[in-house]
């Protein structure tokens, strides 16, 4: 059965309800009938199983006396096979339907989360830890999947088995029915009591497992330190301690199990025994037939024994619910829309940018930008010079609307930036970071990542040449198809940056943001990168985030930033002329360094 596109695109926000069971039910939207079908299948299978006992009664009561039989013997015999086949078929179908529900709903949940997370605003990503998010999207999602696949249907199965077999026994004999459930509350109580404790002991065990893993990992990654101090013996003792603790906790867990199972065995065994005794006496007194007695023996098993697992299922359900909550907390967050906005120009931007008394702060209300005002003509180069934390990066983050200003406005070609759809803005803006993030795909895929069209190979190579990275790529064994990252090549910071430059050349944006803030690149590649950047900046409005005078000297406009404010602005010469300015200070330092160096060398010779 295929899953309809409509149900795959069901908005999971609807599953946000105060009642978690309603939420889980809504998470199954599109699979409700599957799920009900699965439950029905479980019920019918239980019914078939019960019917087998009735067939046995009929058989024993009718075929063990001399005389004519109501039906041919072979028919009764095949009755057993048919019932089993029916039961098997139903439990198989029910299993399939359950799997469709669980896997289908989980697939939708995974897809939704993946898409949701990449559309959540930066303010969310800023406060959430990657590890935490990933854990929620993987292990918590899996716990929800298990809830659908095992617990929800498992509890249903036990309840249906109980009801059907209980009703069946009542059919046989009311007295037998009533005495066969006496022990059930005790079984439930013991298993609830036990599983609550066992899950605690299990947590302790897992906790120690994590400690042991950390100890091991630290030893392995720190192997040089261990060897350097010749501390092997010490490490062995340390590991032994944690290892033994895990052993001890494992022992405790085992001990609990070894008490529970025999205890519940005895409870269930006692119940069975009482039932047998009462049943046997009833047969002897002629109250029931021997066939009824055998049927009872067959049915009662399915009332008592499954109850032992109910405790486990309930405990697991509660962990499933906790996971569900953790997942829903992500879904609860609001996405930022890519297409919202009432102003969508035909064609490209010209690239005129105006910051009009812009301020910005995060949720903690500490101003990162304060009253920033400046304007840039199309094609101009603006350099932002300042320390880490001075607000340079935040300022450029406002352009693609990664964040919106908390006060003031930004005009792009004369129109307030918030009126543009984010998708359009981001297509018009290119960002080249100092050490860009590359995906573990081939270099080719990284270069064409997000271009949004089929790019012919010649075009890719042309861009790579312009970015001075083509030769580097060709030196790899698989050329453009070389994988980046763990399974392929590791690129240096400068190489990564040039891949990003090639990508941006292909993207051909109207506004460019360049991060050029650190200086520790080899001199040879520095020249290459500079040339590639010059190529990239041609005809685009460019924002350069810089740290050093050399990178900003040519800019049409230099903004010197400190603590969220623009403290100086102008061209290189103007700023140099301002005796007490920050800019002059930086410049002086650099000149002075050269002088010092000369002195130093002179001293040596």
């Amino acid at each position: 059965m295929s899953i309809s596109a409509a149900s795959q695109s069901y908005d999971l926000k609807n599953a946000l309800t105060p009642n978690r069971f309603v939420g889980l039910w809504r998470l199954m939207t599109g699979y409700h009938w599957h799920y009900l079908g699965a439950t029905l299948g479980v019920g019918l299978a239980a019914l078939a199983k019960a019917a087998t006992s009735f067939l046995l009664r009929f058989f024993v009561d009718n075929y063990f006396q001399p005389g004519p039989h109501p039906y041919p013997l072979a028919m009764v015999a095949s009755g057993f096979v048919i019932l089993a086949a029916f039961e098997g078929l139903l439990s198989f179908l029910s299993g399939r339907l359950t799997a469709q529900t669980a896997e289908g709903a989980t697939r939708r949940l995974r897809n939704y989360l993946f898409d949701h997370i990449q559309r959540l605003p930066f303010s969310y990503h800023r406060k959430m830890q990657t590890g935490e998010l990933i854990q929620r999207c993987t292990s918590d999602v899996d716990a929800v999947r298990r809830f659908f696949a095992d617990q929800a249907i498992g509890i249903g199965r036990i309840v249906l088995l109980f009801v059907i077999n209980f009703v069946a026994i009542l059919q046989l004999n009311v007295k037998l029915g009533l005495i066969s459930i006496v022990v059930i509350p005790f079984v439930l109580l013991t298993s609830a009591f036990f599983f609550k404790r066992v899950s605690k002991a299990y947590e302790d065990f897992q906790e120690q497992d994590a400690v042991l893993t950390t100890t091991l990992q630290e030893n392995l990654t720190g192997v040089r330190v261990v060897k350097a101090f010749a501390r092997q013996q010490y490490e062995i003792q340390k590991f032994e301690r944690e290892n033994r603790e895990k052993f001890t906790r494992g022992k405790k867990l085992t001990l609990m199990h070894s008490f529970f199972w025999p205890a519940s065995d005895i409870l269930c065994g006692a119940q069975t025994l009482v039932g047998y005794l009462v049943g046997a006496l009833m047969v002897i007194n002629g109250e029931i037939t021997i066939g009824t007695y055998l049927a009872y023996m067959g049915l009662v098993v399915y009332i008592i024994w499954p109850m032992r697992n109910l405790g486990r299922l309930i405990v697991q359900t509660s962990t499933g619910l906790v996971s569900f909550n953790r997942v829903m907390e992500i879904i609860k967050e609001e996405r930022e829309s890519l297409d919202e906005g009432d102003y969508l120009p035909q064609g490209n931007l010209r690239g005129e940018v105006v910051f009009d008394h812009v301020s910005f702060h995060y949720e903690d209300r500490v101003d990162i930008l304060k009253d920033v005002t400046f304007s840039v003509r199309p094609g101009e180069v603006v350099a932002l010079l300042g320390s880490t934390g001075s607000g340079k990066t935040t300022l450029v983050n406002l352009l693609p609307r990664f964040y919106d200003p908390t006060e003031g406005r930004i005009l792009l070609d004369g129109v307030d930036i918030t009126r543009y759809p984010r998708r359009y803005l981001r297509q018009q803006i290119g960002i080249v970071e100092q050490e860009p993030f590359l995906f573990s795909r081939s270099i080719l895929e990284n270069i064409t990542y997000g271009i949004g069209r089929e790019v012919p190979m010649e075009e890719v190579e042309a861009a790579a040449r312009a970015a001075a990275i083509h030769d580097v790529i060709m030196s790899f064994p698989r050329g453009y198809h070389t994988l980046v990252g763990e399974k392929g090549v590791t690129l240096s910071g400068g190489q990564k940056q040039r891949v990003a430059i090639a990508r941006t050349l292909l993207k051909n944006p109207r506004i460019l943001i360049l991060d050029d803030s650190t200086s520790s690149v080899d001199t040879e590649t520095e020249a290459e990168i500079r040339a590639a950047l010059q190529e990239l900046m041609k005809g685009r409005t460019t924002f350069i985030i810089a740290h050093r005078i050399q990178s900003v000297m040519e800019a049409d406009q230099i903004l010197v930033m400190d603590q969220g404010r623009i403290v100086q602005r102008g061209k290189h010469e103007d700023l140099l002329a301002q005796e007490n300015g920050f800019y002059r200070k930086i410049y002086d330092i650099q000149t002075r360094i050269e002088a010092e160096l000369e002195k130093e060398i002179a001293n040596a010779s």
Binding site: F59, Y63, F64, P66, H69, V81, A84, G88, L89, F92, G95, A99, E103, R107, F114, D115, Q118, F122, L133, I134, T138, A149, T214, V223, R224, A228, E235, I236, F239, K246, T254, H257, F259, W261, P262, D265, L273, Y276, L277, A280, I284, I290, S387, G389, R426, F437, F439, S440, Y449, I451, S519, H547, K585, I589, R592, I593, E594, L597, I601, S605
Partner: protein, 609 residues
């Protein structure tokens, strides 16, 4: 080495007698326990078959003959056996559970102990993740096999045998016919199990891909947003989850088909029994109790069979796990004490690299015919490009590796004649990326000298310049450093690492200086600490900071595994060669960092005046 050598493949292996014998050897020290749990599980299993037989007797001679005393007697035996069985159940869960934990514990410890002896070369070619998997999941799997696996097999075998015995006793003709279903069931069950296991392996593989995708998309979210790649990413991810759906669905429906199929086979046997019984009642007489017993034996038979199938399916994986564990335990340390290795009591003295050649991989020499003499107490700075061979020189000196050709002498003696412990316990090493262990600062410092008193620790910390920042921490020396020392800054970690080396009071000092800049204050503290350290000790420093370089007695520019320039700072500057270029570039960079008005820390030296 093929690149996918360490791929986390769960490969299947053929059953090799040798591996199986070795796995069985894990139980060698626990023969008594094993015997105990095997007897207990056999009893539990035999009792199950016995219960059915007692029921049969109760029906045939108690109920049908209205013999009340007989009935009571049978039920009393039944009750007594239930209690006895429960005791055995307790016994076997307890013994086998604890034996399992014990074997896990032993396997882990054995591997860990062995790992401590393995050379760095092993670590450099084996990913940490691979080793971790051996110590954690593989040892679990093998321990499960020799405990619960063995238990399940015994249970199943006993159950089948005793059931069969009772069936034979009740009616041997019928029993012989019915037993024919066992091989059929076993075959079906095994085939199912194998396929199901394979599907689940597939599911796990896709699952790790999904995790990888989440990871990348979250860490790279800025790029995704900037390039408006959301839709394409979601589409790609949906393909992956589609694969997951298919694999998981297949695994689930195979599992769903498994039990009914086996059940159907036993139902056929039940049908046959009914037919035979109805027919033979008229001819030879199979009792009602006998039918009941047969039906319940046959119906129950599927459980031991499916259990055996499971164990056999898992056996393949467990042997694969065991082979990996054994491969780890069998790897021989490449650097080890020679026969008659001794501790000279001190390794002070001149150090000599005499025509040393070294390579990590055949045919790719890192050092070639390298010769160097260092006087006791001298400070040597090693500079040059990454991959030039600086770290290798230090690695050889610490005897993490040994020369492939040539000799290294300490105090005139070939150092391979000393014990490893003699050398490594007297060399203090400070690494570029300082590695701390979870625990408190004090514990980390004490790593340098296990029996150091608190006063000694404090004295060393003062000497290294670490005391002040430690005292500023909330709990001082008892402040936890976090996993891998993550609660501390890089500079602080370096200070701790330096203090640790000072505390060890080594005879030779080796330092791999960090390239990453720390704030100026910490930097000057580290410098001071290093000076203390180098006093009177032969020191090797892979140097980046100019102050360290200038202070060295000799500077070696290492490139391509050779010394290309050697001399004092002034001598080398005058040469205007490689060192000169290196120095001027580093000078500009350092000065910019010091004078940078934008630096994260306020400059110590005011640039304006």
């Amino acid at each position: 080495m093929p690149p996918d050598y360490f791929e986390e493949e769960e490969f299947e292996t053929r059953f090799t007698g040798k591996t199986l014998r070795r796995i069985a050897g894990l139980l060698a020290g626990h023969k008594g326990t094993v015997a105990a749990f095997l007897v207990m599980i056999a009893a539990v299993s035999g009792f199950d078959a016995l219960f059915t037989y007692i029921s049969k007797l109760a029906i045939d001679h108690g109920i049908l003959e209205s013999n009340l005393p007989y009935l009571y007697r049978m039920l009393a035996i039944y009750g007594g056996l239930t209690v006895a069985q429960a005791l055995f159940v307790f016994g076997f869960i307890y013994t086998v559970g604890i034996l399992g934990e014990r074997i896990r514990y032993e396997l882990r410890q054995k591997m860990f102990n062995h790992l401590q002896n393995l050379s760095l070369s092993y670590y450099s070619r084996t990913p940490v993740g691979w080793i971790m998997a051996r110590v954690t999941s593989d040892s679990d799997r093998v321990a499960d096999l020799v405990t619960w696996g063995l238990l399940d097999l015994t249970w199943a075998a006993t159950n089948i045998l005793t059931s069969f015995a009772f069936m034979l006793y009740i009616n041997w003709r019928l029993a012989l016919i019915v037993i024919l279903m066992v091989p059929v069931m076993a075959y079906v069950a095994t085939e199912f199990r194998k396929r199901i296991l394979k599907e689940y392996r597939n599911v796990r593989k896709i699952n790790s891909k999904i995790t990888g995708q989440f990871n990348e998309n979250i860490t790279g979210v800025r790029v995704v947003k900037a390039l408006v790649r959301e839709e394409a990413n979601a589409a790609e991810f949906s393909v992956l989850t589609g694969e997951m759906y298919k694999a998981a669905y297949r695994a689930a429906w195979l599992s769903a088909l498994f039990l009914p199929s086996v059940q159907l086979i036993s139902a056929m046997a039940v049908g046959f029994i009914a037919w035979y019984a109805g027919w033979s009642f008229e001819v030879a007489g199979l009792t009602i109790g006998g039918i009941q017993a047969f039906i319940s034996y046959v119906t129950f038979m599927m459980w031991p069979i499916q259990d055996m199938a499971r164990v056999f399916a898992e056996l393949q994986h467990a042997t694969a796990s065991a082979e990996r564990i054994f491969s780890l335990l069998d790897s021989v340390p490449e650097v080890a004490d020679r026969e008659g290795a001794y501790d000279p009591g001190s390794i002070r003295g001149d150090i000599e690299f005499d025509h040393v050649t070294f390579y990590y991989e055949d045919g790719v020499p890192v050092l070639e015919d390298f010769t160097l003499k260092v006087k006791q107490g001298e400070t040597i700075a090693l500079v040059g490009p990454t991959g030039g061979g600086k770290s290798t020189i230090v690695n050889l000196l610490c005897r993490f590796y040994e020369p492939k050709k040539g000799v290294i002498r300490i105090g005139g003696v070939d150092y391979t004649r000393f014990s490893l412990h003699a050398i490594q316990s007297r060399i203090g090493v400070v690494l570029q990326t300082p590695h701390l262990f979870s625990g408190t600062i004090r514990e980390n410092l004490r790593y340098g000298k296990l029996d150091a008193t608190d006063e000694e620790i404090e004295r060393a910390a003062k000497l290294a310049g670490a005391h002040e920042f430690i005292m500023r921490l909330e709990k001082g020396y008892d402040e936890p450093v976090g996993e891998g020392g993550n609660n501390l800054s890089v500079g602080q970690k370096q200070l701790i690492s330096l203090t640790r080396a000072i505390l060890a009071d080594p005879e030779i000092f080796v330092m791999d200086e960090a390239t990453s800049s720390v704030d100026t204050l910490t930097e000057s503290l580290i410098q001071k600490g290093m000076e203390q350290m180098m006093k009177g000790r032969t020191s090797f420093v892979i140097a980046h900071r100019l102050s360290t370089i200038k202070r060295a007695d000799r500077i070696l520019v290492i490139e391509g595994g050779k010394i290309v320039e050697m001399g004092t700072h002034a001598e080398l500057l005058r040469q205007k060669g490689k060192y000169y270029h290196l120095y001027t570039r580093q000078f500009r960079q350092e000065m910019e960092e010091i004078f940078d008005p934008f630096g994260e820390s306020k400059p110590v030296v005011q640039p304006a005046d």
